[in-house]
């Protein structure tokens, strides 16, 4: 009698001896991953108690003084926080909107290209930036967009005055959003192209026989088929409202554009590592985590309700 055929006895209690004997290899497999997540995620979550302390690294968590909600009082009355919050919302909302509109628009353009060679070349070109780190891209863009950079030379050539893209509060958010869209729109088209490839060709034929032009076919056949994916992507992006992109902003901002470029994540970093105020920094991070958690759960629920999407 083999006890190792789990399919043979589905209805035993999880912790019964028979069940454990069958399942222990699975627990063994999960042991290391679970331990890793426990230490670097769950223990770290426990570390948020620092947000309620006047934390001193020398004294540690057990030795530091508890100060209740003081850190949050400081945080919410700090002018830098309101500024960071509003910058975060501005940047992330534009990123979310354009991060959907631009890929969808470009997918429709690509879909009208009938030569598969041209299409493939264009796809190869537009996916590339996604794979390059913001460190490298930020250094490339600081060069390109500087006062003597190639973009400003072009502007001068056209008779305009040079623009300080990364050193002017008026232009900085625009630069951040534009370079983000540049990096990610190509990669964003992948999901929509996949959805389009599933469109039944007969629908186009039927539409064409009914006298629909190309534009109408796009409007009434292509767009409705990718609409569910658009809705799903929109729903999932709700969870990212407080993520304005630390990697990008931290590598591209400087002291001159803090007014328009400081976001919650960069504020957390500077408070913690530059000013050494671990308590306040953790409180800021905790504010973000809590709000994000609610938003992520909401986004999963919307995604589930609208598209039947479930993660696990």
């Amino acid at each position: 009698m083999t006890t190792q055929a789990p399919y043979l006895c589905p209805k035993t209690r999880i912790l019964s001896r028979r069940r454990l004997k069958m399942d222990y290899p699975l627990y063994l497999m999960l042991a290391m991953p679970v331990l890793l997540l426990f230490v670097y995620n769950y223990v770290a979550m426990g570390g948020i108690v620092i947000a309620f302390q006047k934390y001193l690294p020398a004294k540690g968590i057990t030795g530091s003084k508890w100060i209740g909600l003081k850190n949050f009082e400081t945080l919410f009355t700090m002018p830098g926080f309101i500024r960071a919050l509003s910058n975060t919302l501005t940047l992330s909302l534009w990123k979310i909107i354009l991060g959907i509109v631009v890929p969808v628009g470009f997918t429709l353009m690509l879909n009208e290209i009938k030569s598969s060679g041209v299409k493939r070349v264009v796809q190869t070109l537009i996916y590339l930036p996604h794979f390059i780190s913001w460190v490298l891209l930020a250094s490339i863009f600081t060069k390109l967009l500087s006062g003597s950079g190639i973009v400003n030379q072009f502007i001068k050539l056209l008779g305009g005055t040079p623009i300080m893209f990364l050193g002017d509060n008026h232009w900085f958010p625009f630069t951040i959003i534009a370079t983000y869209v540049w990096k990610e729109f190509g990669y964003g088209t992948i999901v929509y192209l996949a959805a389009i490839s599933g469109v039944n060709e007969e629908l186009y034929e039927a539409a064409s026989i009914d006298g629909a032009g190309h534009f109408q076919q796009m409007l009434h056949v292509t767009l409705p088929t990718i609409l569910p994916v658009i809705i799903l992507m929109t729903a999932l992006s709700v969870g990212n409202i407080l993520n304005a992109g630390f990697d990008q902003v931290y590598n591209m901002y400087n002291n001159v554009v803090l007014e328009s470029g400081d976001i919650i994540d960069t504020l957390v970093y500077r408070t913690g590592f530059d000013s050494g105020n671990f308590g306040l920094s953790t409180a800021t991070g905790l504010f973000k985590s809590v709000v994000s958690c609610v938003l992520v759960i909401a986004s999963y629920r919307i995604a589930y309700k609208t598209s039947g999407y479930h993660i696990f």
Partner: protein, 295 residues
């Protein structure tokens, strides 16, 4: 098609080809510019004559880089972290994904672990607590600080799990009936069928390690262990922020020289990504679609 010869349609097609190609080119032009600078003479860079093709082609900038021992040290650190991190992360991902891919009837404790993994996607401790844990586990200034904290991405686990779920159940079922345990089934039946998704996830992992810079900045103080992107950030971006304030000729010349050698460093840092790009493109497209659009 009814109106293939419609002039308006023709104009649209031509414009569409033109703009699509233009946008495609715009995606690589900034990178080309930097590469062109790296292969141009200092003189040409200084007088802004370099566009997208090297002017006075030479390898001077690469000669400067060759003498930068820290650059190669960091390059080496990144290769090591990518290899070690790949082996470790891939093992962890497979070990987590297999039990999660089983049905609840086969593995009744599955919902508990699903909740456990979900928890890490919903909430995180933030920058400082994570830093303190890394410090507390004694990883600061070791290569493990770059490998262990980021070893397990729940996203990769889900991707792998979904792929395993998609395999015909009859395969593992018959293995069980033949007396194979879970380890044997995973090793002999499931893994050989998972090669495509193993490739995808390997690329995800290696790419993430190649591009990571933040962990190297906060967890590593020892210059001998600084990963490439962190080192590049410290020279290229810090230099650039003062670049525009240069007033004297010497400063401008120094800037032009730095532009050239920085361009060379950026190119060398991009090289491995360019080399695996054909594979990346193929597998990422598959991976992202499979991960996000489910049946």
């Amino acid at each position: 098609m009814v109106n293939r010869n419609n002039p308006a349609r023709r104009i649209f097609i031509v414009c569409n080809y033109f703009f699509s190609s233009l946008i495609g080119l715009l995606c690589v032009v900034p990178i080309l510019h930097v590469l062109a600078i790296s292969f141009s003479s200092m003189d040409a860079v200084f007088s802004n004559r370099v566009l997208f093709w090297p002017v006075d082609f030479n390898l001077d900038n690469y000669n400067i880089v060759v003498r930068d021992s820290q650059f190669f040290q960091s390059y080496f650190v990144t290769i090591i972290r990518a290899l070690l991190g790949w082996a470790f992360s891939l093992t962890m991902t497979v070990l987590a994904a297999y039990p999660m891919s089983l049905r609840k009837t086969t593995f009744p404790a599955r919902p508990f672990f699903v909740a456990y993994f979900m928890g890490t996607m919903l909430f995180n401790g933030g920058m400082i607590p994570t830093y303190l844990v890394v410090k507390g586990t004694g990883l600061l200034d070791t290569i493990w600080a770059l490998i262990l904290p980021c070893a397990l991405s729940t996203y990769n686990v889900i991707l792998m799990m979904n792929f395993m779920k998609g395999l015909p159940e009859a395969l593992s079922e018959s293995a069980f009936l033949d007396g194979a345990g879970h380890w044997t089934t995973l090793w002999k039946i499931i893994l050989p069928l998972c090669l495509p998704s193993l490739a995808t996830i390997s690329l995800f992992i290696v790419l993430a390690h190649w591009n990571a810079w933040f962990d190297g900045m906060i967890y590593i103080k020892n210059m001998a262990l600084k990963p490439l992107q962190t080192y590049l950030r410290s020279i290229v971006i810090v230099d650039a922020s003062v670049g525009d304030s240069a007033m004297y000729l010497e400063d401008l010349i120094a800037n032009a020289t730095a532009d050239g050698s920085n361009g060379a460093k950026i190119f060398l840092a991009l090289l491995p990504i360019m080399c695996i790009y054909p594979f990346l493109q193929k597998h990422f497209a598959k991976g992202i679609v499979r991960g996000s659009v489910k049946e």
